[in-house]
C-alpha cells in the first residue's frame, strides 16, 4: 500500500502468513481484545464515499462469497454513486442447508465481520449498519459483540440487528430489503434494485458475512497481501463447507483455486468412496467424481461443467448411496421453499421434483425428457434465482447419475438404502418477525 492516507497502515503487526486467514488465532470465539491484537480499528465513515478505500477494494479483486461471486468494488461504486446516504447490510443468512461458514464466522469471528462492515460503510459513505441473520446463536453472538464495542471503543456507526426467517429465499437481497421496509422476507420483482433504492429508499449495500470478513483483512493487510493466495481472477481464500464421505467434515479455509481432489484428501476422503460431488449448494451442480477431481475451487475452472463455487458447499455423496433419491428429496424441498409468488416456480419446481422422484422409483416414461423441457421453460422466469438454481441442480443430476437412471429403469431401484436422508434440510420458519 503506498497511496495517500492508507500509508500509515502499510506495516500491520500480524498479517497472517499462509493459512488460515479468517480463522487464524484463537480456536474459540475471538474476543474484541484478541481481535484488536491482530487488526487495527477500522476507519470512520464520512458523509461521502472514500475513493481511496474504493480503489483499495478494486485492487484486491475481492468478489462476493455469498453465491454469485460479483466483484465487490463494482457493487460498492454503484451504491456510492446512488442518491442518498447509503446503508450497509451484513447478510448473515445461512440459507443453504449444507453450508455452515457464515454461522461459524459470525459466532467465532464476529468482530472481523463487523470491522469489514465498518470498512464497507466508510468506503460508500454509509451512516448505519444492519446485521441480518436467521440463527439465534448468530444473533446472540453479534449482539454481544456490538455491546462490547459500544462500551470499549469510541462510538462509531450504529449497528442494528435484524432477525430473518429461516427460508431458502429469505436471504435474497430483495427479500432482506422488503423485510427491512416492513414487508415479508420474500423476493420482489419490481425495480429499483437495492443498490439504487433499498432500505428506506436509500442505496443499500448488501454483502455476505464472509465477504466482509475478507474486506476487513484487505483493509488491514493490503490488497497485495490478499492476492498472495488464490488465483489472479478469484484472489484470496474461501470458506468451504465440506460434508458427506469424508472423515473430517466442517468448514475448511482454502486458497481459491485449490484442486477439489486436494481438499477431498485433506478432509479425509478416500479414493473411490464417493459417487458424486455436489458443488456450490442446492442451487449448484452435481459433478461426477472424475469431473470434480479434475476441477479446482474457482468459478473459472468449474465453468466448463456449468458449475461454480457458489456458497462454498462441497458434498461428497457416499459410494453406495443413491444420487437420484437424494436429488428427488432435495428438489422436493426446494420446491417447498418457493415463496409462491411466480407461477413457473410454483408449478415447475413441483413437477420437476415429482418427476425426479418417479425416475428414482424406476418409473416415469420419458421422465428425463420432461425434466429437461420443464427446466428450459422455467429457467429465468422467476423474480428471484430460486427456479434457476433448482433446475440447475436437477439437470446436473440427470447428467451425473445417468448410469443410475438406467439401473433404476431396469430394476426399479438401485438397491441403495433410501430410507436415510443424507443431505440436510430445515423446516422453514414463518416470514413474519
Amino acid at each position: 500500500m503506498s497511496e495517500g492516507g492508507l500509508a500509515a497502515l502499510a506495516d500491520p503487526p500480524d498479517a497472517p502468513a499462509g493459512l488460515p486467514r479468517l480463522l487464524s488465532g484463537t480456536r474459540g470465539p475471538a474476543s474484541l481484545e484478541e481481535h484488536r491484537r491482530a487488526l487495527d480499528v477500522p476507519p470512520r465513515s464520512r458523509r461521502s464515499a472514500d475513493e481511496s478505500l474504493l480503489a483499495l477494494v478494486e485492487r484486491s479483486g475481492l468478489r462476493g462469497r455469498g453465491g454469485a461471486g460479483f466483484p465487490m468494488a463494482t457493487k460498492m461504486r454503484a451504491v456510492a454513486s446512488g442518491r442518498g446516504r447509503p446503508v450497509v447490510i451484513v447478510n448473515g443468512a445461512e440459507s443453504e442447508p449444507a453450508s455452515g461458514k457464515d454461522r461459524l464466522l459470525l459466532t467465532m469471528r464476529p468482530h472481523l465481520v463487523l470491522d469489514g462492515a465498518l470498512v464497507a460503510a466508510a468506503a460508500v459513505g454509509a451512516d448505519s449498519i444492519v446485521v441480518c441473520a436467521d440463527d439465534d446463536d448468530v444473533l446472540t453472538s453479534v449482539e454481544r459483540a456490538v455491546a462490547v464495542r459500544r462500551s470499549s471503543e469510541s462510538s462509531r456507526l450504529p449497528i442494528d440487528l435484524a432477525s430473518l426467517p429461516r427460508r431458502y429465499v429469505a436471504g435474497e437481497e430483495r427479500s432482506i430489503v422488503q423485510l427491512m421496509n416492513g414487508g415479508p422476507a420474500i423476493p420482489t420483482s419490481a425495480p429499483p434494485r437495492p443498490f439504487e433504492r433499498g432500505v428506506g429508499g436509500r442505496p443499500t449495500l448488501i454483502q455476505n458475512a464472509e465477504t466482509l470478513a475478507h474486506l476487513a483483512q484487505v483493509f488491514a493487510f493490503g490488497p497485495e497481501w490478499f492476492r498472495e493466495l488464490g488465483t489472479a481472477q478469484e484472489p484470496g481464500t474461501r470458506l468451504i463447507t465440506v460434508s458427506g464421505a469424508v472423515a473430517h467434515p466442517g468448514v475448511h479455509e482454502v486458497p481459491s483455486g485449490m484442486p477439489i481432489a486436494e481438499l477431498y484428501r485433506s478432509a479425509g476422503g478416500e479414493r473411490g468412496a464417493t459417487s458424486g460431488v455436489l458443488v456450490g449448494g442446492y442451487f449448484g451442480s452435481w459433478l461426477t467424481p472424475a469431473q470434480a477431481f479434475d476441477a479446482r475451487l474457482s468459478d473459472r475452472s468449474l465453468r466448463r461443467f456449468g458449475a461454480g463455487v457458489g456458497a462454498g458447499v462441497l458434498y461428497f455423496l457416499p459410494d453406495g448411496a443413491c444420487g437420484l433419491v437424494e436429488t428427488a428429496r432435495i428438489a422436493t424441498w426446494l420446491a417447498g421453499q418457493s415463496s409462491g409468488q411466480c407461477g413457473p416456480c410454483v408449478h415447475g419446481l413441483r413437477a420437476i421434483a415429482s418427476t425426479v422422484g418417479a425416475l428414482a422409483r424406476g418409473g416415469g416414461q420419458d421422465a428425463a425428457a420432461k425434466i429437461l423441457r420443464w427446466s428450459a421453460d422455467v429457467e429465468g422466469r422467476g423474480a428471484c434465482k430460486l427456479p434457476d438454481g433448482a433446475v440447475r441442480f436437477a439437470r446436473s443430476a440427470l447428467a451425473t447419475f445417468s448410469g443410475d437412471i438406467e439401473v433404476h429403469r431396469r430394476r426399479g431401484t438401485c438397491g441403495a438404502a433410501s430410507d436415510q436422508a443424507l443431505l440436510p434440510t430445515y423446516v422453514a420458519t414463518s416470514s413474519t418477525r
Partner: protein, 71 residues
C-alpha cells in the same frame, strides 16, 4: 434508436393466458398456463397486437418496455 420488448412482472402474473391469444407469434404458454415471452424486439407489424395483449392482462403484468436498441 429505441426498440420495444415484452416485459412481464412474474409476481403479478396469474397465468390468465389472454396475452398469448393476442400475440401467439411472441408469447406461448407453459404447461401450467403461464406465458413464456420472446425476448426479441417487437416487429412493427406486431406492435398493435402487442399493445392489445398488454392491455388484455387482467392484472397488468405485461408491459411493453422501451429500450435502447442493441447495436
Amino acid at each position: 434508436m429505441t426498440v420495444r420488448r415484452l416485459h412481464l412482472d412474474p409476481i403479478a402474473c396469474d397465468g390468465h393466458g389472454l396475452c398469448a391469444d393476442w400475440l401467439p407469434e411472441m408469447i406461448r404458454l407453459d404447461d401450467w398456463g403461464f406465458p413464456i415471452l420472446d425476448p426479441g424486439e417487437i416487429p412493427p407489424e406486431l406492435l398493435h397486437r402487442a399493445k392489445r395483449a398488454a392491455s388484455a392482462c387482467p392484472v397488468l403484468a405485461l408491459k411493453l418496455a422501451v429500450e435502447p436498441a442493441r447495436s
